[in-house]
Amino acid sequence: MSSSNGGYYLPAPSHWPIVGSVGMFLMLFGFASFLHGSSALVMSAGAVIIVVMLFGWFGTVINESLSGKYNSQVDTSFRMGMAWFIFSEVMFFAAFFGVLFYARMWSIPWLAGGSNNVMTNELLWPGFEAVWPTNGPGDLGGDYQYMGPWGIPAINTLLLLSSGVTITWAHWGLKKEDRTQLILGLMATVALGVVFLGFQAYEYYHAYTDLNLKLTTGMYGSTFFMLTGFHGMHVTLGVTMLFVILIRSMKGHFTEENHFAFEAVAWYWHFVDVVWLGLFVFVYWLV
């Protein structure tokens, strides 16, 4: 209050957080109820409320940003927030990668009698041998084929790496005030992301119909679908965010110095890209 501009901006009381909490509660309570036989109504209502909240909250922030209320210190807070949020996402994926490594390095060899587990193998799972991929000594889900790396996954790797190039090209455009390059670069990035998702969807369809590879195919199916599935959800979120900043770019938002939202989305997109490289190597390639 002591200065009307240039100070650290403290927002007025906001109703968006409580809307978000109600939406989150309804969505998750509804989902758990849905799993036990209730209709999907509550869950869907919660999801709609969350979407409304996201529009309202981000809309407020965008308006505040456009009206010049944020100084560079506020910008730094946002940057730190986004960077550490991405770190938390890295740790989320780390948990699932950790599970994959643990299963391949330890628990599956142990089921096959490795280390001090000869009798485990002899008494509980006689004849089980440690191989990867595996659907376990119980042969869960029956015969299946694994997903090799050199078809769609390799193409997808190429798509995501290219999208990292196009978003950087768009950023260069923004920094030299070439709006056309910015918009074209973002369009290309969104398009590459959408094609990636299309290929992933086709791959899942192929896995379920042709390979009998399912979520229920033991440890291989579990890690394959959970890792690629969560990655796909993050790509979907990333594409959505890219689409939002594309629209904002078309509306003339962002200046060459002030475009935190663009950079945050770009960071997120590179994060999604790096996770994919991990998936390509450890889930698809090293089978």
Binding site: P13, S77, F85, M91, F92, A95, F96
Partner: protein, 526 residues
């Protein structure tokens, strides 16, 4: 760095009124107050569950509740105390104190700060609602090991899973906010190595939270899919492993216990110098010790799993790594003691709680060393000795520090001094009863009484009865605490800005009670 503040609403100088003030607030003091009240209400709910447990264990045999409900009580008591009472209590202190201690006008991201809090009542409601569901609430212990929590768990477990997701989301946002605040909002001249130790410990804790809460989210997500969608992460038939759950859980769980105790170290490191009227001994070694403990917390977690049949090399590694934690922890205890050495000591209520913390937390630390020794832990594992250990670190450690923080900072928050006589009654009542409650549990644990069992054999009867009596007395002491809190809020001797004779730091330069907005023009720190 800018040193001034702008507001959305230029007429908004004081606190708005009505219920919506609390729902929509973006003010760190309001949000801190909300966190503290939430934590206290959860403490009473979790405490009521502990009373059920102690009532059932008052005598051998089954008297009060049926065994499944007993297990539900131990489970929910643990979950509510960890996620509902201690963690939000510490975050409440952080919200109130960090901006005041570093000379910031508010937290870095005030709207997100509101959301971090307002997720909690919804998550708490979801968690407590499981008690009223068909099949009962979760009864598999607060560690929710598979397959108890997957194959053999009640339907309400899925609601429990989503409650954990929400709590984790809240914690991650809160931690991000604290990191951004500490790194970006310090007053000019407040260099990192001038920050009060409470700020330092919370800063380091925030990194722990961001690193491990997502892993917990991963663990409960895998539970969810194992339960509902046919994955086999924790099922050996599919090539998974129930012990894998314990690895993922304790990768979260061990840093989690430091998340609850590091801010407590910070509180005590503020209080002891004030009442010893000396600077904190070994400030920089305190910072490095905190960081070392945080780092070590990631590489010791499997000491919770010595009896799972891991390879001997693994047991040896985790044993040696665990014992190493004694070094930085001992540095801290030494520094607190050295701060008091030849100090001009007085024993106001906050100091009593802080000294009790140093003594009793250290007892909990020593029993931790005992069970860190893998061969000895084979004997202690899953007995009441473990229960005694972690209650010494969490009740007389973490909880005592939050209570100490209340007595220390309440004059700043409310503008009223706490009645010393009532505070001392609360202290002696609590500190005696808590030892009657938990110390005998060492004996029955060493004698072999297992935890999480509603009935026990006759040789444990005497100590259990004594422990229960201590438990009821300790529970009553916290009901008395409600009276102390409300009395302090409603009146009492007016507090000065400094409050305590030996106080030090920025929070004591502003009036008591702290105005709604503080440090809108940043102070200069020399």
């Amino acid at each position: 760095m800018s040193t001034a503040t702008t507001h959305d609403d230029h007429h908004d100088h004081g606190a708005p009124s009505g219920l919506m003030r609390w729902v929509t607030t973006t003010n760190h003091k309001d949000i801190g107050t909300l966190y503290l009240w939430f934590a206290f209400i959860m403490l009473l709910i979790g405490g009521a569950m502990a009373m059920v447990i102690r009532a059932e264990l008052f005598q051998p045999g089954l008297q009060v509740v049926d065994p499944n409900f007993f297990n539900t009580m131990t489970t929910m008591h643990g979950l509510i105390m960890v996620f509902g009472a201690i963690m939000p209590g510490m975050v409440g202190l952080a919200n109130w104190q960090i901006p005041l201690m570093i000379g910031a006008p508010d937290m870095a991201l005030p709207r997100m700060n509101n959301w971090s809090f307002w997720i909690l009542p919804f998550a708490g409601t979801m968690l407590l609602s499981t008690l009223f569901m068909e099949g009962g609430g979760p009864a598999f212990g607060w560690t929710f090991y598979a397959p108890l929590s997957t194959t053999f768990a009640p339907a309400s477990t899925d609601f429990f899973i989503f409650a954990i997701h929400m709590l984790g989301f809240s914690s991650i946002m809160g931690a991000i906010n604290i990191i951004a605040t500490v790194l970006n909002m310090r007053a000019p001249g407040m260099t990192l190595m001038k920050m009060p130790l409470f700020v330092w410990t919370w800063f380091i804790t925030a990194f722990l939270l961001i690193a491990v809460m997502p892993v917990l989210a991963g663990a409960v997500t895998m539970m969810l899919t194992d339960r509902n969608f046919g994955t086999s992460f924790f099922d050996a038939a599919g090539g998974g492993d129930p012990v894998l759950f314990q690895h993922v859980f304790w990768f979260f769980g061990h840093p989690e216990v430091y998340i609850m105790i590091l801010p407590a170290f910070g509180v005590v490191s503020e209080i002891i110098p004030t009442f010893a009227r000396k600077k904190l001994f070994g400030y920089s070694s305190m910072v490095y010790a905190t960081a070392s403990i945080a780092f070590l917390s990631f590489i010791v977690y499997a000491h919770h799993m010595f009896t799972t049949g891991m390879p001997v090399a693994g047991e040896l590694y985790f044993m040696y790594a665990t014992i190493m934690i004694a070094v930085p922890t001992a540095v801290k205890v030494f520094n607190w003691t050295a701060t008091m050495w030849k100090g001009s000591m007085t024993f106001e209520t906050p100091m009593l709680w802080a000294i009790a913390f140093v003594f009793l937390f250290t007892i909990g630390g020593f029993t931790g060393l005992m069970m860190g020794i893998a061969p000895a832990d084979m004997q202690y594992h899953d007995t009441y000795f473990i229960v005694a250990h972690f209650h010494y670190v969490l009740v007389t450690g973490a909880l005592f520090s939050i209570i100490a923080a209340f007595y220390y900072w309440a004059p700043k928050w409310t503008g009223h001094m706490v009645d010393e006589r009532l505070g001392k009654i609360h202290f002696w009542w609590s500190v005696i009863s808590v030892n009657v409650l938990f110390f005998p549990q060492h004996f029955i644990g060493l004698a072999g009484m297992p935890r999480r069992i509603p009935d026990y054999s006759l040789q444990f009867a005497d100590w259990n009865m004594i422990s229960s009596l201590g438990g009821f007395a300790f529970g009553l002491a916290q009901v008395f605490f409600i009276y102390v809190i409300i009395k302090t809020i409603r009146g009492g001797k007016a507090a000065t800005a400094e409050v305590w004779e030996g106080s030090h730091g920025l929070e004591w330069t502003i009036p008591s009670p702290a105005p709604y907005h503080t440090f809108e023009t940043a102070p200069e720190v020399k």
